[in-house]
C-alpha cells in the first residue's frame, strides 16, 4: 500500500457568502477505511495545503455521521452525496469536493438549505393537531400503509435531489422533488388527509409541481431510495383533480 500513503483532496473553497470561490489542494496521510469527513478532520488538525503553506481549516457541516441527518451533503467528484457515507477507498483520486451549487454558500463546503424549508412551508408539510380543546385520538392508520409511508418519511432534507435536478436553478423557482414527496406523505396520513387540499394548493402555487421536467435524476441520486418520481406523478394526478374541482366547483373542493 505504499502508493496509498497519501490522499489528495482538491477543495473548492469560499471565505464568505459574497467572496469568490477558489480551489485549494491538500495532501493528507492515508488511513484504512477513511471517509471524506475523516479526511476533512485531518485537514482541520493540520491546515497546510499541498504547497506547504499554512491556511485556514476547511469548514463543512455535519451532524449524525451515519447518513441520516443530511447535513454533510456536498458534491464529491461531480456527484452530490453525503460526505460521511463517501468512503475514500471507493473514490477516484484526487478527490474533488465542492459545495452544492444549488444553494448559497455560507463558507467553504457549508451551504444554506433554507429554500428547502421554505418549500416545506409552501406545501404545508406538517399535520395541524392543535385546537382550543383536546381533539382526542386521530383515526388509525393501516399497518400496510404505515410501512409504505415510512419510506417517504426517510427524507432528511439533504438537498441532493435538488442539486441533481436540472430544473432547480437560479433561472427557475421550482421548489424541487423533496417537498413534493413530503406533501404526498402528509396527504397519505389519516389526520393529515383532512388538510389535503391545502398542500395541493401549495403544490400548484408559483414554483410548485409544474416546474418538474421529468429528468428523474432525483430518484437516481436519493441516498434514502425514496420513490420521488412516483410521488411527483401521484401529486401530479392529485393536483390536476384538485384544479378541476376548484374550477368546476365540486363539493369536494375543500
Amino acid at each position: 500500500m505504499a502508493e496509498q500513503s497519501t490522499i489528495t483532496f482538491i477543495i473548492t473553497r469560499q471565505n464568505d457568502p459574497n467572496s469568490d470561490p477558489y480551489e485549494e489542494t491538500f495532501n493528507i496521510p492515508y488511513r484504512k477505511n477513511m471517509n471524506v469527513i475523516s479526511g476533512l478532520m485531518e485537514i482541520q488538525k493540520n491546515p497546510v495545503n499541498a504547497n506547504g503553506e499554512k491556511t485556514t481549516p476547511v469548514m463543512w457541516d455535519m451532524n449524525c455521521l451515519e447518513e441520516v441527518c443530511g447535513a454533510c451533503s456536498m458534491v464529491i467528484n461531480g456527484t452530490a452525496r453525503q460526505s460521511c457515507a463517501a468512503l475514500v477507498d471507493t473514490l477516484e483520486q484526487p478527490i474533488r469536493l465542492e459545495p452544492m451549487s444549488t444553494f448559497p454558500v455560507v463558507r467553504d463546503l457549508i451551504v444554506d438549505r433554507e429554500r428547502m424549508f421554505d418549500a416545506l412551508k409552501q406545501v404545508k408539510a406538517w399535520i395541524p393537531i392543535d385546537g382550543t380543546h383536546d381533539l382526542g385520538p386521530g383515526p388509525r392508520m393501516p399497518e400496510k400503509k404505515r410501512q409504505w409511508a415510512y419510506e417517504l418519511s426517510k427524507c432528511m432534507t439533504c438537498g441532493v435531489c435538488l442539486e441533481a435536478c436540472p430544473n432547480v436553478n437560479d433561472k427557475s423557482n421550482f421548489i424541487g422533488p423533496a417537498a413534493i414527496s413530503q406533501a404526498r406523505l402528509f396527504n397519505a396520513h389519516p389526520t393529515g388527509e383532512m388538510n389535503a387540499s391545502d398542500r395541493l394548493e401549495g403544490l400548484m402555487d408559483e414554483g410548485g409541481i409544474s416546474g418538474c421536467g421529468n429528468s428523474q435524476n432525483c430518484v437516481q441520486v436519493c441516498p434514502k431510495g425514496i420513490p420521488l418520481t412516483t410521488s411527483i406523478a401521484a401529486m401530479n394526478r392529485a393536483t390536476n383533480i384538485q384544479a378541476f374541482k376548484n374550477f368546476f366547483g365540486s363539493d369536494n373542493a375543500h
Partner: protein, 206 residues
C-alpha cells in the same frame, strides 16, 4: 388562483402538445403517406384536406395557435433548465435534454416548412401538389433538413407522450413508466417510418 397561473400555463402546454398538436402531426404524416401510392393518390388526399370547410379557422385553432403557444413557452422552458449529462448521465436525463433540443430543432424546422409550403400556397406562389414537395426535396440539403426535422419532431412527440402521461398522473409507478417507455419507443419508430417513407417517395420517386 392568481398564484396558480404558472401551473395552468404548464398544464395547458402539456395538453396542447398531445391534443391537438400530436394528433395533427400523426394525421399530417398519414395523409402525406398517400404519396407512396402515387401522385394522383396524394393530390386527392391533400386536396380533400385543403378543401375542408372553414379550413382557415380549423388551421388557426387546431394548428397555428396551439403550436405558437407550445413553442413560445417551450423555448422558455428549454432555456431555464440546466443540462447536467456529464455528472448525471441517466437515461431519463438524456431524454430530458433531447426533448428540449429536439423541441428547438422542431421549431426551426416547422417555421421553415410552413413558410415554404403553407405561406407560399396562401400567397398564390404554389399549389398543394405532389410536385411542390418533389421540387423542395430534390435538393440534397433540403432532403437532410426534412429528414432531421421530421425525425426530431416525431421524437419530441413520442417522448412528449411519455412525460404527458407523468404530468397528468396517468403513469405513476416505476413499472408503468418503464412500460410506457417501450410503448413510446414503438410510437417513435412507427411514426418516424411514416414520415421518412414519404420523404423518400418525394425525393427519389420510389
Amino acid at each position: 388562483m392568481a398564484g396558480q397561473r404558472e401551473y395552468f400555463y404548464r398544464r395547458l402546454h402539456s395538453l396542447l402538445g398531445v391534443v391537438p398538436i400530436g394528433i395533427f402531426l400523426v394525421q399530417h404524416l398519414v395523409v402525406n403517406h398517400f404519396a407512396v401510392y402515387g401522385e394522383e393518390s396524394f393530390n386527392t388526399a391533400a386536396g380533400f384536406m385543403g378543401n375542408l370547410p372553414f379550413v382557415l379557422l380549423l388551421e388557426i385553432f387546431i394548428i397555428y395557435l396551439p403550436i405558437l403557444y407550445h413553442a413560445i413557452l417551450g423555448v422558455y422552458i428549454a432555456l431555464t433548465a440546466n443540462y447536467s449529462l456529464k455528472n448525471y448521465g441517466y437515461f431519463r436525463n438524456w431524454m430530458f435534454a433531447l426533448q428540449r433540443i429536439t423541441g428547438l430543432i422542431t421549431l426551426v424546422f416547422i417555421a421553415w416548412h410552413v413558410w415554404e409550403t403553407r405561406v407560399q400556397i396562401g400567397l398564390g406562389n404554389a399549389e398543394v401538389e405532389y410536385s411542390l414537395m418533389e421540387g423542395i426535396l430534390s435538393s440534397p440539403f433540403m432532403l437532410w433538413f426534412y429528414l432531421i426535422g421530421v425525425i426530431s419532431t416525431v421524437f419530441h412527440f413520442a417522448n412528449g407522450l411519455w412525460s404527458f402521461c407523468v404530468s397528468w398522473g396517468i403513469t405513476q409507478s416505476q413499472k408503468s413508466q418503464r412500460v410506457l417507455t417501450y410503448v413510446t419507443v414503438f410510437v417513435f419508430l412507427a411514426v418516424s417510418y411514416l414520415g421518412v417513407r414519404t420523404i423518400i417517395q418525394f425525393a427519389f420517386g420510389v
